[in-house]
């Protein structure tokens, strides 16, 4: 007796819950692994998931089991050289020697790490757990209307490239059936008459000839109906459909004057990566504008932004001015969600700092969703920080943070975007 059941169409992800439980339990280790992985990524690489490493020791499920030492008796197959009483030097490490049932896999002393992959979404969720974009409510309303072309049935005219062959031929068949229906009925009647005549005892030669001619005529008429007619043609119709989209542009401003060394730039780079990843959770398309400056500002590509060395003094306002110009040129604040991040070691020409505050207050902040300034320095704060600090006090869309070393990046980032409970409520 047996019943066969085809279970292949049943859901296959029975283990999903357990997988989530696993991730939930090892969240702290996984998060650490995720945070480490951030440093290895390029700024705009967000398409991939991440492989996670957890040391096996942490994963162990301890049970009582017998350890090493003592007396062990084992039976092995394949004796090719031993006699009773032979003595063999003990191998330095007894590995793989006779794992009896039940006691394998219990020993948690393997040093191998447990490596597994998480998807991109899981990765980003873990990375940015408990974080949120400030002032997002406002942004949601500002979602842009974009148009997408979608198929919308068929129409009777259009360009040849849009001809839908199947639909057109269906039309052709229908038309031919409709146009010949009458004639075919006549044809049928004539043919029936003919067969009657042929079965008749008399030899109606003349009647047969007439009938045959009539049949031939009708057949010709039927055949004359064109196979395809411009009337049959159907074209695929396309319509424009409005889709709400949200576009964001992220301005990366960095001081590249002589005082900024490569280590400082690396820290800045990591910060920008985080910001990019974070924004990519909310926005599908993100433009990134790189502006570097010393005494003058310049828009550059990613590589040049991070890796070219400049010398000279620092006028931070030049970058802000360039940003304002670029916004005016290309990124209408009604269409784009504008984010800015400025990184600097704090050096700035002292007279320029009040000007920076001014530009920021009047020109930039009104247009941006959020602007963060990070100062990467071991030294005391200078004028730019002080000017910005005054600004940050009164404005929730502007914040400043201080990073001393690499370890600070992630915590600082988190503190910048920490969920504000009273806001969220």
């Amino acid at each position: 007796m047996a019943n066969f059941i085809d279970r292949r169409l049943n859901s296959k992800n029975k283990s999903t819950v357990n997988r989530q439980r696993f991730i939930r339990r090892y969240k702290s280790q996984i998060k650490k692994s995720v945070a480490d992985a951030v440093n290895k990524r390029g700024v705009t690489d967000v398409t991939s998931g991440e492989s996670i490493t957890i040391t096996k020791k942490d994963l162990g499920e301890p049970v009582f089991h017998q350890g090493n030492g003592g007396i062990k008796d084992r039976v092995h197959p394949g004796n090719d050289q031993f006699s009773t009483g032979d003595r063999i030097a003990r191998p330095p490490q007894q590995q793989g020697q006779g794992g009896g049932p039940g006691d394998a896999s219990n020993s948690g002393d393997g040093s191998d790490d447990f490596v597994f992959s998480i998807s991109k979404d899981e990765y980003l969720n873990l990375l940015f757990e408990d974080l949120e974009l400030p002032n997002l409510e406002k942004n949601q309303l500002d979602k842009l209307i974009d148009y997408k072309t979608v198929r919308a049935g068929y129409c009777a005219d259009g360009v040849p490239s849009n001809i839908d062959i199947v639909k057109s031929l269906q039309g052709s068949i229908a038309r031919r059936i409709a146009m010949t229906a009458d004639k075919r009925r006549q044809l049928k009647e004539l043919e029936a008459e003919l067969t009657q005549l042929e079965q008749a005892p008399h030899d109606n030669v003349q009647a047969k000839i007439t009938l045959n001619k009539a049949i031939k005529d009708i057949k010709e008429q039927i055949n004359k109906v064109p196979f395809i007619d411009s009337f049959d043609l159907r074209y695929r119709n396309y319509a424009k459909q409005p889709v709400p989209t949200s576009k964001a542009v992220m301005f990366c401003l960095m001081d590249v004057s002589g005082s900024m060394d490569q280590a400082t730039k690396d820290i800045a780079k990591r910060f920008y990566i985080l910001l990019y990843l974070f924004l990519s959770r909310t926005y599908k398309t993100i433009d990134v504008v790189y502006i570097r400056h010393h005494t003058q500002a310049k828009e550059v590509d990613e590589h040049e932004f991070f890796y070219s060395q400049e010398t000279g003094g620092t006028i931070a306002s030049s970058a802000l001015e360039l940003m304002i110009n670029i916004i005016a040129d290309r990124y209408n604040e009604n269409e784009w969600n504008i984010y800015g991040a400025q990184a600097s070691d704090g050096d700035n020409w002292a007279d320029d700092s009040p000007h920076c505050q001014n530009l920021m207050r009047n020109k930039i902040l009104p247009k941006t969703r959020y602007f963060s300034y990070i100062e990467i320095t071991q030294r005391a704060h200078q004028s730019l920080w002080q000017q910005y600090a005054q600004l940050a006090d009164g404005d929730s869309s502007f914040s400043i943070e201080h990073i001393k070393s690499v370890e600070d990046i992630y915590p600082v980032f988190r503190s910048l975007f920490k969920k504000k409970i009273e806001q969220a409520a």
Binding site: V63, I71, V75, G85, I88, G96, G102
Partner: protein, 508 residues
């Protein structure tokens, strides 16, 4: 035998062909008196097979991270190609559920049907251990009950609480079985009926045990001085009944883990026999079909190719060697028993007077029904098989710097090898022998466990971690003692690790 028209041997399977093969296999199985539960054969995909792997053979598993870990591990090794998936999984239930993988060829499906649906199935139904320890008809219901109960608990008490409790139970899972007495069968109806009353009743019992109001009857106090009166090997059972501060739902979780542990206990003890029996029957049944002309040479070649892979035994110095292959040992032993019955040699007559020349089918069924690995080997391992396997025994005493060859496959060694191999499958030697000796009911409520080493093998370092889990359940001091070489008890682990004295001794 009359030759019949062979079945379609095209390697693609269809449900119609599965039915045909199945009914032929069933006919042959009946001819050999294989008594089975009704088969429920489910065709599944590779992903579903990985799901089934992760839940360690339970068709319905409760949710726990450890199953997620197993799933991820399986998925990883499978995707990297380090491991093929099993062709089948079979569940000891009534009806007996077997999973077939969709990518198996027709020959493989036939092999699996013969192996799982008639081999394993009849073993589950016939072997005495399965008969007395498990109740195939209620296991699915019970697992369903367990899953629902645990889900309810998570809802009521939070995932973290439930998880911590299950972690602790899992750590002691191997010690949740009554080794020395026959258990009660688990039954769904009984569970549901009793569960509610048990909750309150149990709690009242525990309260009685731990009540602090002075007892007027002094003789009563004295009687309680040693509790439990006898050492308890079923730690989870003891916890369930006696842990002072556990909440009723936690006791129920302990019970669920314990019952599941009990369900798997016979499988641990009959690996060689169970696989050997199944291999013997897929081999015998399919050869029978071949003799009848029902399957073709093409079919048989593919079948034999897979069969030989399964029952291959690498030798000790082979890079593929990882202990004795239970499939190989079991299969060859059953084949050998049949040989002893049908064509006994003088040696066989001397070693197995009672079965040499007997009806092989009767003998095989007798062997399947009444033994477990340990006793099966000590009863039926023949000198011929020891020679074929070239078995030898290594004696490894840690106090020597060499390993000694204790016995080889010769006249003077047969008995010793057979005894040692049998011991190798004796669960009570393999698992740590730990018993609860004392719960200080009237004093500080501490719990004392004793480890009795087998052949001077110490407990592995994981004991400290396990004790933490036990402490979680007991919630008062827990200590593990072991007799040292002078016959004095020393504490080898305790939780919490407050007392320095114990620490010092343990590190010596």
């Amino acid at each position: 035998m009359t030759k019949r028209k062979p079945l379609d041997d095209n390697s693609d399977w269809t449900f119609k062909k599965l039915e045909q093969y199945q009914s032929e296999i069933a006919r042959v199985a009946e001819h050999y008196r294989l008594d089975t539960y009704i088969n429920q054969i489910e065709v599944i995909t590779a992903e579903q097979m990985m799901d089934a792997y992760a839940s360690v053979g339970m068709p319905i598993g409760y949710n726990h991270w450890t199953f997620g870990k197993k799933f991820i591990q399986t998925e990883q090794t499978y995707k990297r190609g380090q491991m093929g998936l099993a062709y089948e999984i079979v569940i000891n239930s009534d009806p007996c559920i077997s999973y077939l993988m969709e990518e198996n060829s027709m020959a493989m499906q036939a092999l699996v049907i013969a192996h799982a649906c008639y081999g394993h199935n009849s073993f589950f139904k016939g072997n005495y251990l399965f008969k007395s320890w498990t109740d195939a008809s209620s296991i699915i219901d019970y697992l369903l009950f367990a899953k629902k109960y645990i889900a309810d608990c998570e809802h009521k008490h939070g995932i973290d609480e439930v998880e911590a409790c299950l972690d602790a139970c899992h750590a002691l899972m191997n010690h949740g079985v009554d080794r020395y007495k026959r258990p009660q069968k688990i039954s769904m109806e009984e569970e549901l009926k009793r569960q509610k009353e048990r909750e309150s009743y149990l709690q009242s019992q525990v309260n009685m045990l731990w009540r602090t109001i002075p007892d007027n009857d002094k003789s009563h106090d004295k009687a309680k001085v040693s509790f439990p009166s006898e050492p308890q090997e079923n730690i989870l059972y003891f916890i369930e009944k006696n842990a002072p501060l556990l909440k009723p739902w936690q006791r129920e979780l302990v019970r669920i883990v314990r019952k599941i542990s009990q369900y798997f206990y016979p499988q641990k003890q009959t690996q060689v026999m169970n696989e050997g029996w199944a291999c013997f029957w897929h081999y015998t049944i399919l050869n029978h079909l071949y003799d009848e002309g029902l399957v073709t040479e093409k079919f048989m070649l593919e079948f034999l190719h897979n069969h030989t892979n399964v029952v291959a035994q690498p030798e000790y110095n082979s890079p593929y060697y990882s202990g004795i292959n239970p499939y190989a040992l079991g299969f060859n032993m059953f084949i050998d028993i049949r040989r002893i019955c049908e064509h006994p040699t003088e040696e066989d007559k001397a070693w197995f007077p009672e079965i040499a020349g007997s009806n092989w089918l009767d003998t095989l069924h007798f062997a399947m029904e009444n033994f477990k690995d340990e006793s099966f080997i000590s009863q039926f391992l023949s000198p011929k098989l020891m020679r074929d396997f070239k078995l030898f025994h290594l004696h490894d005493d840690n106090s020597n710097n060499y390993i000694e060859v204790g016995a080889i496959h010769n006249e003077s060694g047969y008995k010793k090898i057979r005894m040692q191999l049998s011991e190798q499958y004796n669960l009570s030697n393999l698992e740590a022998n730990i018993q609860i000796t004392n719960a200080d009911v009237t004093g500080d409520r501490s719990l004392t466990l004793r480890y009795i080493p087998h052949q001077q093998v110490n407990l592995a370092d994981s004991k400290d971690e396990v004790l933490k889990h036990l402490y979680y359940l007991w919630q008062f001091d827990v200590k593990l003692i072991q007799e040292d070489s002078h016959g004095v008890d020393e504490v080898i682990a305790q939780c919490p690790k407050a007392k320095i004295q114990g620490e010092k001794k343990a590190t010596v």
